[in-house]
Symmetry: D2
Subunit: 487 residues, 4 copies
């Protein structure tokens, strides 16, 4: 049973990069799965297609519920939650990066396996760049794959490890994989969190009463009233039991490469990363933009909702009044399936409407977080002009997106990225706006708390720069990628 | 089959007044029902519980689909829309005001009846204040009621009218009813729009290609690209056919009493009423508030989303920076049903989260549109204080809500309205905030484009003033109401 | 939402006449609706398309659940049954005779109406022959019809009656209707059963503990362990309360005309009618057939399941061994929807399979209950010959079906009845069998306990004889019928 | 998502032994999956809980649909069948024998695995007696089990085999397993059928146009119009391709031990086994019973439907008239879930009703196929006596069932088998009937075409005799079984 992608994806949300996963785990709290459900609800923006929870209770064993759809629709009835008893649980929401095109429930995480020394569930945020290579090797040795998920490689590597405990087998396995991974795993008695040595994806540690929780973002700690303890460090494995936590660093050290797009778009504005409010970072991007690309205008309007913080910053720095020139229909959802051709042509109007009385005759600065294919940007510009705006100036709160991501983000091929095909001036002409400007890479680094981009960059910014910190082994082997050096 | 009310209603959305209905009709356009579906989608905020569409096509007859749930979930598949062919259609979304507690599909409008001279469908926004009296009289004469809706009285009055055409029977019937009504009705060949003589509820006329559309708000014209023609006037009946429109005024004239709460909260900010942007009216309420109730503070934060325009106005007038101190979870939906006690206690956190890093140590002005029971206001205040705010100042973009509405809005009984029980200072103590202020009634009238409230007020403001423009006959007969004179 | 007719209907069950309704009521027993559900389950063969139950409990009022599908699927969960509390309830299963083609839930009975003196629910088995005439008259006077059911006429006639009690209004109303009706109705305190003066459709009275039950057939009394008291007589109205029963005869007396097809096919073989086992009547038809139409053969095989009792009788009278030459697939159900063309061509094989090893080389007597269109008979004959039978002799346990029924049975138009178009010998050629014989009308009357068909026939046998005991007023008015006199 | 067992199982069908699986495969025919669906529909009696189909088409690859519920509900829509394209397919219906109690979709067969040389799907009827031993060994070596099915052992053994082709790996694997198995497997180009060396479970080969089909029973060939070619022999592997079939015998030869209960109850009466009609075998059991245990009586009645053929035989041999004294409700289905306590107490009456008018005052011989726990037998006896029967004589068409089956049949533990706890006379007293007799083991063998039971028995009759042809390794290791030698 496949889960149809939203038909408006191409018109609207489809024109965004997508984080593929959010993960959450809890140990040492009653009805742990309930907290996991709440945590995943807070992380839904990281993966809207499907979700799963595994729990363990003595005498009952491991239980698992995996479903397509939203957490709020699948993990809220007492019927379902009673199937997930116990004081330890972990869960996953996903969009899907690697994995088959036709979504299958067997690809929904957490994955679970029974080893000789007991069961283990694994939830993975990120992407392994050598998964195809590993898979071929494992099948050759007699492993049977049940999913098309890269995460299953970790499971089979663990099954074949000669180490004696599950944490040791996990270290053993993760030393063979390449790429980006933040993993939450659980055994009957342990909750395990681990990040790849570059720390590409986030992972947070929190305290809830006598227990421990782990989550992709701090907003998922807030929703359950957990206290934020600290970020799990790049390359660190944290093992939590009701008795306390143990930390180790099983991998060779690497330069830190946290994904800068988490700051730009993926993470929720009420999350905190590296001690700084994501909202504040985004507001500061707007400030940088106003400095780098000022313009005379009457109103600064965000493209809702992701452009809002940067628009506020732009307004504050420039002194041009902030206004809600575009209103989002809050009842727009995942569904609207099988619409008639009539409805399909309505395009972006189903989701956004221009505040016509406000816009008429005004010079408008429109602030958006990024331009991917550029399809939505064109439509929004048309709506604004139809409503009688005098001028439209686009300001983008990230540098031009020119390269695909191989570390756990769903990006179009390079050929479909507008900025890979055109200069900024060509894009301005293509979008047919009065002016267009992107924040600079240095400006973005400044907003994120750095002095600028260093020689060894402080973040992974491959989507903007083409500088890939980990070689995309499978992509190269398959001839599916052209790197910057070849460009 | 009843439709459970959202369990968080009491914690969150429940603490708002609710508009009960949105209506839409189209004639002279191909696949009229598709446009009705889109229009109702744009009006979903006026009624989220259920929706219905009736269409007529020669040879096929009248067809009707009525469903609980959102328009986007029920009226988007080609399967459903193919059941609604024809060039004339009308529809309704509802929350439910009068009508039985356990919602029944037979209460979902439009209601349809077959008269001797043909079929007629009726969609009604408003509330009849003498419906119970009429109902008893009609049953006594042999009418069989199928719903608990007040609207069915109109149908039975029409069935018994001695007039010869459906429009004449409708006039005949509407002269017997009291209260607030904006009605869209359709026969096989006519689309009829009519407003009560005081014009309590809105009704707009638009042009779409060769055809005509009618809608509760202009935002529903925008979504289908229809041109806004004009408002249907208080007491006016407009009959649209493919050949043109006819206007008549069948009722005795009354002073205009448009509902001022449409400006405050009910209507969408991108709609235009009386020639003025609703967004702009709300922003101006914020400006008035800042003038009437200034305060020294570091940030102005809206309670999302309804407080946003007034917060922007307050910030602009006061010079205090605007910030998104509270973030709404956009995946919060109608569902989350049957949650465990655990989840229920999470209360408002499932829907809102404080931007902790932003708020810590700050003096915060929180702007909300209204205070009804005050339950949500308390919880939001606690969240803000938990996050470390130094001071919390509430500013409310409407006067104290002290009286129930009998004209089509779902209000709690007077005993549950916080402002009916306490003075402003008592409320401040109850909410335990550093200061609390409501915009004045005159300030509200100024923001709405008047010089102030006149001796014969230009709006219906009974919820604030207790001055009811139409006597609530049934309520008085049942002893369910205490009027201002008795208070 | 329409309920698709089974695609194999035309190939298999479709080639039967269909009883349209079963009714059941209970008063004076705890959880009356549960007994109604069980009774309707036992009557499911009388109407498989939809079912409904209404109950009343003091303080709670009337409640109603009406659904498409089987009783076992809709009225067995505690969720549903808890919506139907109280010590009085009645229910209905239907196939649909009159009523719109696209089935609508509003046509599912019992129908309910609120009169000035209280609520009343009505469940009707039969068909009113002047419903269209009455409907036009009632609409003209201001009644609004909600369904396309003929039963709604009874409700509106009652609403307009000048009598003061519900039973008196019901008598008043039923004196205006013509045709066949067995009705179970309920008020807050009374269960009412009434049969038309000819007693075309059955209605039974039973005792359950301190309470009373009414049902279409005795098998529905057996399932709940109720004691069979007596049949309600033609023209009788029985009013049951916890205090006892009252009987009256409100109509002018008419000759009794019980439907003889109830004996042939409609009623369940374990029911008792007129003091005689239906199974036994059918077995005796087989005995009559063996006397009237003997043949030399090796095996007597029933067409399962309806031909079984007559086949047993034929075998016993003729001495030819009885055998299950055709096996029915018991997993064949209502569904198998949207099959591929491939499956559709499988036709009757999906439901029946020949016992090939048994049939090969044998002379087979096939016994079926009736021949309607003849489509199934042809296919069964082909299956038997394919399996290698030496000879096939069809024996039919009813006379040739030549006329449509207007009293509550779903019959094809006369043009589609095989026996209306062909002589018996022509049918034998058309079916291409070695011999074909129908039981005689007199033989059928003998099996049913009479000496033969009298001058004033003891049953309604219009489907065989064309002698309609009640004039089909609406059909004649609409020119939709050609009577025997015209033939 | 678990699939609740029918609540009446214990009252009615639960008191039967259950075959656990039916299998079907097709190659070389267009839309092979459609034929598999039809074949599985004909085999539904062998497994009603769940079903699955795998197909392969070049360019599309392997596709799989596995569902809980009936074939007719899951594999008939064009939506589903379009997911299963190709000219090769196989499928499975199951009840569940080994495998976890809470049914999981991952246990539904066919199982599928991707090996280094390509994909393979496996459908298995039977039970492996050393599966637990094998499972522990395989997990120890690094295999990850996804299901609790014994069949998955075959898959993992194949994955680790050092042979180079899938058929060779299958032989390799099947030489390691013990117990009963009839397997249908498919690769991209081959359909493979194989039976264990004793041939405990059936497997048939048929021809359909240019293609080949394999099925558990011949009735599944009839439904699609396939020609019966021959039984696949015990110990034989048949590989079918569009070019023809290849046969081999990869196992050491063993004495044949076909399950005699297939004749008694499991197989459909219209199937042919060993050249003899199953219906005819059952009728002959009735003849043997009448010879071995005659009685003076008025009627011979079957317990429907499984007792019918033996009752016909008993009637024919004894000369006592055959009659349908018990009527089965054909609308009784899988559902009736969550009934109230009220309904639960109705017990067997929901499914069966006595033909009271027929039974009253009569001496009745009741013929049933077997007695397992005896719970149903008692209830049926009570119904018959309540209806006024003068005497009740039970005749059982199999010997006393005294031992559990370990070869693919769902049997209660020995402690719950009535005949393991009581002598025939004690059972007669327990059931409180006038007489009770079982057919003798020799009589059963005679009806099945043998002269009697030989020293080396011609069938597996362990459930009657306790003579297990294959040692139940896992059961013994777990101490879960007491064999005859220990008894």
């Amino acid at each position: 049973m496949t889960f149809p992608r939203h038909p408006f994806d191409s018109a609207w949300n489809g024109d965004k990069l997508r984080e593929e996963c959010g993960i959450f785990g809890a140990i040492g709290v009653p009805d742990a799965a309930t907290f996991v459900a709440l945590g995943l609800h807070a992380l839904q923006h990281r993966g809207q297609e499907a979700g799963g929870i595994v729990s363990f209770a003595p005498g009952v064993g491991f239980n698992s519920v995996r479903r397509f759809g939203y957490v709020r629709d699948n993990f809220t009835s007492s019927d379902v939650m009673q199937q997930l008893p116990g004081q330890i649980a972990c869960g996953h929401v996903r969009y899907s990066t690697s994995g088959s095109k036709g979504a299958a429930i067997r690809d929904v995480q957490p994955l679970f396996a029974e080893f000789a020394m007991g069961g283990c569930a694994i939830a993975h945020n990120g992407n392994l760049t050598n998964a195809e290579q590993l898979r071929a090797e494992l099948i050759d040795r007699g492993s049977i794959f049940q999913s098309s998920s890269d995460t299953e490689c970790i499971i089979h590597l663990m099954a074949r490890s000669i180490q004696r405990s599950i944490p040791e087998r996990m270290k053993d396995a993760l030393r063979r994989v390449e790429g980006a991974f933040s993993v939450i795993a659980m055994t009957r008695t342990k909750l395990i969190g681990v990040r790849d040595p570059r720390g590409v994806r986030p992972l947070m540690l929190g305290r809830l009463g006598e227990g421990w929780v782990m989550a992709s973002e701090t907003c998922a700690l807030d929703i359950i009233g957990a206290e934020f303890v600290r970020e799990i460090a790049p390359g660190e494995m944290v093992i939590a039991t009701p008795d306390g936590i143990e930390s180790s660093f099983p991998f060779d050290a690497k330069p830190k490469k946290f994904c800068i797009f988490e700051h730009v778009y993926f993470s929720r504005p009420d999350s905190v990363i590296g001690g700084q409010s994501v909202y504040e970072t985004r507001r500061k991007i707007g400030v940088e933009l106003a400095k780098e690309a000022p313009v005379e205008a009457d109103l600064v309007c965000p493209v809702p909702d992701s452009g809002t913080p940067a628009a506020i910053g732009y307004s504050q720095e420039s002194g041009i009044p902030y206004a809600m020139g575009i209103i989002r229909n809050q009842y727009m959802g995942r569904t609207f399936i099988e619409p008639t051709a009539e409805i399909r042509n309505m395009g972006v109007r189903l989701k956004l409407n221009v505040n016509r009385a406000l816009i008429r005759g005004k010079r408008v600065v429109l602030v958006d977080d990024s331009v991917v294919r550029g399809t939505t940007s064109r439509k929004i510009k048309e709506m604004i002009l139809d409503a009688g705006a005098a001028e439209v100036h686009f300001r983008i709160a990230s540098p031009p997106t020119q390269w695909p991501c191989f570390y756990g983000v769903d990006t179009p091929e390079r050929e479909k990225l507008l900025a890979a095909q055109m200069s900024v001036e060509e894009m301005r002409e293509h979008l047919d706006v009065d002016s267009l400007a992107f924040v600079s890479l240095d400006g973005l680094y400044r907003a994120a708390g750095e002095k600028g981009r260093a020689a060894e960059p402080q973040f992974c910014d491959a989507c903007f720069s083409g500088d890939y910190p980990v070689e995309p082994t499978d992509q190269i082997a398959a001839g599916r990628v052209r790197l910057k050096a070849d460009a």
